[in-house]
Symmetry: C2
Subunit: 348 residues, 2 copies
DNA sequence: GTTAGCACTCTTTTTATCTGAGTGCTAATT
DNA sequence: AATTAGCACTCAGATAAAAAGAGTGCTAAC
């Protein structure tokens, strides 16, 4: 091994790391002089220039123009993230801060993910995106109907993941007590334990058909039940802190808008694709086109399966060394918290 | 009267109107030549220049710099809106379009206002703001508690305005059937008919005290009830279409952000202040500082009292002649729709 | 292998000049 | 008395030229 010429020796790696570090902070191309002045680099600018030329040849750096410093390429960032940066370990204060974000009243997967998302957007001054697939795993535990006015009824649906949604239905006629009791019982018998994912029009149609003609007045309620389930499913992708990005001038506003408007289609695929627990995607990767942007995503698990993901979207020059540990910590905690629930409360 | 020199004769008014019209469309200062070329102005540029100088002296116009055309001042806009512009009358298609926006499933004040707000944001490419004070008028019609898991209960609150909110409570102990029945009955006896506006901590404390020691386990539920009422109250101000404004470069992004972040405090006062049914506020008026911005607000009524307001926020150079009729129509329709309900369904 | 020195490149900043839209005033016209 | 043509004047914005500066690559010396 010692005979092999190392294309990327230790010094070059340190220089590359220093360049990315600097670029992340300033956003300006980095010159040889700036690097030479760093305390732990003990060579002259000329030497650094040679190394930089080499790093450029290897595809880790590029020059915006001849007389400018260097900026990292995609490959440069990747290497930095995978091998070069020294991820900050979280201080106890950091952990305490993050724990507080997860201290929600009722720690369902939903509430935890949502709260983490908002906190992270705040902390990083970036946008965050969450995907919550808890609905897919969760089943209906309860459907209630409650009269609230003349011909007005509230449908209430509770799922095993602890989520609740309600919906007002306006009917053509008032229901008799008998009808209401029938409905509640019918729902308990036919929908309890049914996966949110499976409950679609076809199920409803079958139920309506099976219900018999006498109870046909109840059909609109069943329709409402279906819409409630849909509501749970549609809720999958959520973005927080969009405004943090719109203010930045290194990201294209139009592209951002387009992204946010189509978040459901766009992000869904990105988070679906199989990848490790934590992954960083760049700009045009994975079909979402926000030039100069980067996305750090991490998975949240539950019983071995992916229960959701939490991600930060920002400029390419994110403070990876800080943010990655943040995300890792949050997703780990959430993963633990929702697993604990499993034993304690049998929510799923 | 005929002897009095008219400072603002008909021609000057027409010229002012033409200048504002043009500026609203182009955003560029308007010169004498452009006005002279209009079909219904039959005087030379020189004459128009004289009139423009006069209009400037009167405070209706200003020049960004010597060699530029004129732009309207606040007073210019005000006169334009109050007297000069010819508001477009809505075509049948327009009305149909707007009616469709109000065709919501369950026409509560809330739903109507929300739907109108979103539609208006879309139609005008501006932000819209709504204030919904329905909660103030509405009273509690129902409080239910529904068990949904070990020590987990859903509180459901329904108000007379047809709004529903739910909240999960996690208790220290499971409730007995007896306790649940007691709670429901206690709520029905003590909170039914109580105004959302009045239900605060002090009421809850009184109820807890009156409940007796045996039922003290229920205190957290009462706390939850209080929070639900708070939730109704907090929901007062909503903004839609923020992004439409962030894209514009004639509005200061920072000021916009600040505005949106503090919308609750800022907008509340603006809409509270007594004013006519429809009002236009400019830039720095009323304490909200988005330079170069304008806000058209219109009231929604219910039984003579203000039930809410609907407003459009955009650049000063809004298409008032089009948007004002839109808002007027929408608020009128909503006012009618929620009054009809009064007779038909006795929701309030 | 490293470094000082230096010519070279290319962006950015500064300075100067030009152009044109639009005005205000005066004097002629209706 | 009101309107208009004519003209000098102003000033923002565009275009061009010049200067400054940051950073490089290469060569030759260490």
């Amino acid at each position: 091994m010692s005979g092999v010429i190392e294309l990327l020796d230790d010094r070059k790696r340190r220089i590359l790391a220093a360049i990315v570090d600097s670029y992340i902070v300033t956003g300006e191309p980095v010159g040889s002089k700036a690097i030479a002045s760093l305390p732990d680099i003990r060579v002259s600018p000329a030497t650094i220039r040679n190394d930089m030329a080499m790093l450029e040849q290897l595809g880790y750096l590029e020059q915006p123009h001849t007389s400018a410093g260097r900026i990292p390429t995609f490959a440069g960032y990747r290497l930095y993230i995978d091998e070069l940066m020294n991820a900050k370990t979280l201080s106890d204060e950091d952990k305490k801060l993050l724990d507080e974000c997860l201290d929600v009243e009722v720690p369902t997967a939903d509430a935890l993910i949502e709260s983490a998302s908002k906190a992270l957007a705040e902390l990083t001054h970036c946008a965050t995106v969450v995907k919550n697939v808890a609905p897919k795993f969760s089943v209906i535990t309860k459907v209630e109907v409650i009269p609230t006015g003349r011909r007005m009824y509230v449908l209430l649906m509770v799922t095993s993941s602890g989520n609740i949604k309600n919906k007002v239905c306006r009917l053509e006629f008032d229901l008799t007590n008998e009808q209401m009791e029938f409905f509640t019982k019918y729902m308990a018998e036919n929908l309890q334990g049914v996966s949110i994912d499976q409950l679609d029009e076809s199920v409803i149609e079958r139920l309506v058909a099976a219900m018999g003609t006498y109870m046909v007045t109840l059909a609109p309620l069943l329709q409402g039940v279906c819409e409630l389930a849909e509501g749970f499913r549609d809720n999958e992708i959520k973005v927080a802190g969009e405004k943090n990005l719109l203010a930045r001038q290194d990201l294209n506003t139009t592209q951002l808008m387009r992204f946010f408007e189509n978040k459901n289609e766009v992000v869904k695929n990105m988070l679906d694709d199989s990848f490790g627990d934590l992954q960083v995607l760049f700009g045009e990767d994975g079909g979402f086109v926000i030039e100069n942007s980067s996305m750090i995503v991490s998975k949240i698990k539950k019983g071995g399966k992916t229960a959701g993901s939490l991600g930060v979207i920002g400029p390419m020059r994110l403070d990876y060394a800080k943010i990655i540990p943040y995300i890792e910590y949050l997703t780990d905690r959430i993963t633990n918290l929702i697993s604990e629930d499993d034993d304690e409360d049998d929510i799923f």
